[in-house]
């Protein structure tokens, strides 16, 4: 049994401690907004915040997340108000299929927290998520819009 704190709530999950955090979140806690795309920390679809730091949850053992504040896409909105990144994503109609977008949004939210007015180069460095639909043009526009919101 490991105790995880996800979106402010404690969850006791009965998994092997080596289970990737991603699968504990998806299968044991039942929050499926965080996606699997590669399982090897490359694509970014599984990005969550761990004590505020964007982290790829597929390549991290659940035991390493114990005691940390985990935030998933489901926990990004505060008091029923969408995060400004989510709002900008809607305004710019960023998602195509949408499958990569939870991870993309979590990465963007961290970027704006650390760098409130990112340049294009800042965006290039911080957003390394793969999107097979190719939404990057809208991602960039929406990050700038969120920064100026």
């Amino acid at each position: 049994m490991v105790r995880l704190t996800i979106n402010g709530k404690p969850h006791d999950v009965d998994v092997d401690p080596s289970t990737p955090l991603l699968w504990a979140i998806r299968e044991n806690v039942g929050l499926t907004g965080t996606k699997y795309g590669c399982g090897i920390a490359i694509c970014g679809a599984c990005t969550v915040h761990l004590d505020g730091v964007a982290t790829r949850s597929c390549a991290m053992a659940v035991s390493d997340a114990v005691g940390k504040e985990i935030t998933t896409i489901e926990g990004l909105a505060q008091n029923g108000t969408l995060h400004r990144v989510q709002q900008a994503w809607i305004a710019h109609e960023v998602p195509q299929c949408g499958y990569c977008q939870s991870g993309m949004i979590m990465a963007a939210a961290e970027l704006l927290k650390n760098t409130p007015k990112p340049t294009d180069a800042d965006i290039d460095n911080a957003i390394t998520n793969i999107c097979r639909c190719g939404t990057f043009q809208q991602v960039r526009a929406a990050i700038h819009a969120a920064a100026n919101a």
Binding site: Y99, I130, F136
Partner: protein, 728 residues
């Protein structure tokens, strides 16, 4: 003038074959069988496409699938336009494939491939909207006892003589009892108010909050999870496996063989299933192809470049004489590798089987193809099967004609009657068991006369046929020829060759390796556009002419081809100085009925190629939702340029080497060029063109031509990483 493409029987075969509809549907379904399903949504049904509820809300039925390309929104716009309803009241639903079978295919094809979602169904869905409007008007006229001609509809409100007024919702019940008018007159697109506008796509909010349920996310009560491994060598079989080694592992419920070729582990969670499967010793009978490699495949294709026997795709004049009499001959050989779709969401399906019913939940590009797979795998009759479509986490051609994962899920679920089984493929399984963009080589020989006019072109394709593997009946009808191989260089139709060359031969030596081919976004235009449009630049260089002028001279008879090319040339500033260190390249094609062109601006530093900007033009005849087209154009460039720079599925020991993004990279935001799209629908009465695929083909040759302009170097085999070239 060739504004209205010639639709002959052969192009119909090509079109249908590409997506698995019509003639070459590729599966049998007992349409009109004994299924008892009625209307799907609750509320009065006005024809098969529209339900209007008493509160005026409108539900539009959509048969095609949504994978982010915006087809559902576009189709709903077309229905709403003719219905004259208030757009804010519109939602949509998917009639299930089981209902389609029961109602004699009332909603037509479910196939969402070949860029056909809108262009092939716009007429009948618009008629569906118009018929529903006429029914509502008639119902109001009946109630008021006035001639229907004196009634009109706008914004879900009907008005009649003497200030009479009612709403759609109030007369819907009565309207539903009226006969459905046949082939009503459609609006002139000039009068469109909802269609043709950049209306926001459905479903965006759920995609930014994690709420959207993809196939991967589905949960059913009592559900178990399955992981699977199929013979990594195509054509191989399971010899043995040692279930006892893993059956005691935590959560494991079942270790089983699936058909002849695969082994699955079923467990409480998917992670447990996958962990056990990874630990399971499996011995494969690798079959006849275990020695095949990319090198042996390339050798066999190379032999085809000069082979006697080849199928003719496009021919005029006398190419032999033209080449013999040429003042100058130009020759080049190109090669295009296998590609994998790598949808962001790997393949999956969830099945529940009992002796009375088999149900499957699946992200699918073709609900009917999924349904056919359920029928085949379950052995149950159509009235005991059903498919529930889920929106896709990417499709790109992998989830239409091929329903291998559905077959597997049902086969596993049959072993555990009553228990829902969710089958998820790991990324590695997804990439090992692709349906790959086929390999193709091409030898091009061009003849220039003494004045440097292009007098002849021979384009010899050598490589794999998709249809031979997927729709052999089409190839049989064509006496062994695969008509789809000639996409973009065909003699007529939606993939017609744009240039007029006095002596032309395009032919194909078919070489079919054992790797299973499939329809990959753009299908055969990906390589054909590179071959043709890079070679046109090579010819222009040999002729000492500007690449744009050289093309213009050959496009006089094809004004819509010329128009898109001129549009990108003008916007990119062709003929005017580029920024310091920046070089330009062009390309164009007619594909999936749309005319498309691109102009790229690149700079080269050492081995790094920076693509700064691509101007793209598309003429799809009509543009139903311009902002969605804009996104499809930019997205298609990401897909196409990722392939050009990074991607190749290498074959070694009969299997695919690249099994994840570590060896099969994909473009990131840092590499994304600025894409400017010009949407220039020509209108008219001709067939509509597609949107999702056509532009994919023009990015790569435009970039390659710009690279050649920058360096004087021609790269003719791909991906560019094999030449130590990087996308900066």
């Amino acid at each position: 003038m060739n504004v209205v493409p010639n639709i002959n029987r052969r192009t119909f075969v090509i079109g249908s074959a590409a997506v698995g509809g019509g003639l070459a549907i590729g599966f049998d379904l007992p349409f009109g069988g004994p299924v008892s399903a009625g209307a799907t949504g609750n509320g009065p049904e006005l024809g098969v496409w529209v339900v209007v509820k008493p509160d005026d809300s409108v539900v539009v039925r959509i048969a095609r699938s949504e994978m982010g390309q915006g087809t559902i929104t576009g189709l709903a716009q077309l229905v709403a336009e003719e219905l004259e309803c208030d757009w804010s009241k519109v939602s949509y639903e998917y009639p299930t494939p089981g209902q389609s079978v029961a109602r004699k295919r009332a909603w037509g094809s479910y196939s969402t491939g070949g860029s056909r979602g809108i262009r092939e169904s716009h007429e009948y869905v618009r008629q569906g909207g118009a018929s529903a409007r006429l029914m509502l008007l008639q119902a109001a006229a009946n109630e008021w006892k006035v001639p229907v001609e004196q009634c009109s509809a706008a914004n879900s409100v009907i008005t009649g003589p003497g200030n009479r007024s009612t709403t759609f919702g109030k007369v819907a019940e009565a309207a539903a009892k009226l006969p459905v008018p046949d082939k009503p007159k459609l609006k002139d697109p000039k009068d469109w108010k909802i269609a043709g506008k950049p209306i926001k796509r459905f479903g965006i909010a759920d995609k930014v909050t994690g709420k959207q349920v993809y196939g991967f996310d589905l949960t059913l009560p009592g559900m178990v999870n399955a992981a699977i491994k199929e013979s990594p060598v195509f054509g191989g079989k399971v010899k043995s496996f040692d279930a006892a080694k893993v059956s005691g592992m935590k959560g494991v419920k079942k270790v089983m063989q699936v058909g002849d070729t695969a082994v699955a582990v079923v467990a409480d969670t998917w992670w447990q299933a996958k962990t056990a499967l990874d630990a399971l010793p499996i011995v494969w009978d690798e079959g006849a192809h275990a020695k095949v490699s990319s090198e042996t495949i390339a050798e066999s294709l190379k032999a085809g470049l000069d082979a006697e026997q080849a199928f003719v795709g496009n021919q005029n004049g006398d190419i032999k004489a033209a080449l013999a009499g040429a003042a100058k001959k130009v020759e080049a050989v190109y090669a295009y590798p296998y590609q994998n779709h790598v949808c962001m969401e790997p393949m999956n399906a969830t099945a529940r089987y009992t002796a009375d019913k088999c149900e499957v939940w699946v992200p699918t590009q073709d609900g009917e193809a999924s349904f056919a797979a359920v029928l085949a795998a379950s052995g149950l009759p159509a009235d005991k099967c059903e498919v529930y479509k889920l929106d896709l986490g990417g499709g790109f051609g992998r989830r239409g004609a091929f329903q291998d994962y559905v077959h597997q899920a049902v086969t596993i679920a049959k072993e555990m009657p009553g228990t829902p089984v969710k089958l998820l493929w790991s990324r590695e399984e997804d990439m090992a068991q692709g349906r790959f963009h086929p390999v193709m080589q091409c030898k091009l020989v061009g003849a220039l006369d003494k004045d440097n006019n292009l007098t002849g072109l021979h384009m010899r394709l050598s490589g794999q046929s998709i249809l031979a593997a997927v729709r052999p009946q089409v190839v049989e009808q064509q006496k062994g020829r695969d008509p789809l191989v000639f996409q973009g260089v065909a003699d007529s139709g939606e993939h017609a060759f744009g240039y007029t060359i006095p002596n032309l031969l395009v032919d194909h030596a078919m070489r079919n390796p054992h790797v299973p081919p499939g329809f990959w976004r753009g299908v055969n235009i990906n390589q054909n556009c590179i071959f043709l449009e890079c070679f046109m630049d090579e010819l222009a260089t040999a002729a000492g002419q500007d690449a744009l002028e050289f093309r213009r001279k050959l496009l006089g008879k094809h004004p819509r081809n010329l128009a898109v090319l001129n549009a990108v040339a003008e916007q990119v500033g062709w003929g005017k100085p580029a920024p310091q260190g920046v070089f330009r390249g062009l390309s164009h094609m007619k594909a999936f009925g749309a005319y498309v062109a691109a102009a790229a601006e690149v700079s080269v530093t050492g081995n790094k190629i920076k693509v700064h900007r691509i101007v793209a033009a598309t003429d799809p005849t009509y543009a139903v939702n311009p902002s969605q087209i804009d996104r499809q154009v930019a997205g298609s460039f990401v897909y196409g340029l990722s392939a050009l720079f990074y991607q190749e599925c290498t074959v070694k020991d009969g299997r695919i080497v690249e099994l994840n993004f570590d060896s099969y990279d994909s473009m990131r935001i840092a590499q994304m060029p600025k894409v400017e799209s010009i949407i220039m629908p020509a209108g008219g009465d001709g067939p509509w063109g597609g949107v999702g695929e056509p532009t994919i083909c023009v990015a790569a040759p435009a970039v390659l031509n710009a690279y050649a302009a920058a360096t004087g170097k021609r790269v003719r085999s791909f991906p560019l990483k094999n030449h130590n070239l990087e996308l900066a």
